[in-house]
Amino acid sequence: MSLNITATEIQIQNALGVVKFTSNNKLVYPRASKTGTITLGSASVSIPFTTMSDSEFLSLSFKINSCDGNVGSALIGTEIPANGSIITKFYGRAVNNTPAADTDYMGALLVGDQLVFRAVKAAYNTTSLTASDVTTNLTYKATIFSYL
């Protein structure tokens, strides 16, 4: 193990001489976290959290406790990385003898200092999103990592 200090860099090498990291690398550490349980239906849910700086990122996961959608109900008890959206219900069927499909999905985004959860439906016969008819109870875990 060695610690090399030059005018421009501090370098830490392991016993094999491999550079473990340098002062030009940025170590990632958790700065803020929040967990909670919500019930998400057709209306969005906002949870106060904290804003992020440019050198931070959000890591978000869901654990579904209950869900009346056929996809979400199959994921109960599983912690799902969910920076974005996950499917809660998929409904494939025949309409007038032609295949048709709807998808309900949900997700969360940090908007300012609020974690905003929202669920919507992409119905087979419209071109815009509508409110989801799926109700999901979930436990979320949000962590802001910083690399200042």
């Binding site: 610690l3 440019d54 959206s85 295949p99 919507v120 992409a122 087979y124």
Partner: protein
């Protein structure tokens, strides 16, 4: 007791004032690394399958559920977003037309002071001219027109909505209209502002 750093032949350890270890080179840490294969922090959308007859991933609507400020035809709502506009329910508009995006209406969906994402404006027509196009069977969907990064300074901006190819005309069942044509005017019956987050993955690596 003060904070200390101890360097030996095979490790470096730092300790806090209470003697607990704050850093140990025997541990593996995460560090930023452009070549790092571990991606974190980006928003990823799920596949959204929808359709009739032809079932496709609903990429046109963003695939992300954050639909902010949905307006279902309430004329007053337009004034929030289009302070310089004159759009009201049942008012015919010619195309192309230009709208003004105000800072105050969009700043609530910023992240870190910067807007990350795209907006799509979706207008639904309740009737349309030429008259041989039936009432209530036409959507006029204008999408992919506004990349918010182009107006990220948010002093407000003018955005022009054009006829195809910048817009797509859909039938009520979601299929593309068989004979789209320039729209001389239409009646606006609804207004949605759809926000789509962009992937913003940070590349990180584990220290050796």
């Amino acid at each position: 007791m003060v904070e200390r750093i101890k360097i030996t032949g095979n490790k470096i350890v730092t300790r806090r004032a209470d003697n607990s270890i704050s850093f140990d080179t025997d541990n593996l840490y995460l560090k930023t690394d452009p070549a790092g294969t571990l991606k974190a922090g980006g928003y990823e959308r799920c596949p959204v399958l929808r359709g009739s007859s032809t079932i496709t991933d609903n990429a046109a609507l963003g695939g992300f559920p954050y639909l902010t400020k949905p307006y279902g035809g309430a004329p007053a709502a337009f004034s929030d977003y289009i302070p310089k506009g004159n759009i009201t329910l049942n008012q015919s508009m010619g195309m192309p037309f230009t709208l003004y995006l105000g800072y105050s209406s969009l700043c609530d969906i910023t992240q870190n002071g910067n807007v990350v994402g795209n907006f799509k404006f979706i207008y639904r027509s309740s009737t349309i001219s030429p008259q041989h196009l039936q009432q209530y069977d036409i959507y006029v969907e204008l999408w992919g027109l506004v990349n918010i990064t182009t107006i990220s300074s948010f002093s407000g901006g003018l955005v022009t909505f054009n006829n195809p190819p910048n817009s797509t005309i859909y039938n009520a069942d979601g299929t593309v209209h068989a004979s789209p044509r320039p729209i001389s005017n239409f009646v606006c019956a609804g207004f949605d502002l759809l926000y789509t987050a962009l992937p913003a993955n940070l590349s990180i690596a584990v220290t050796p």
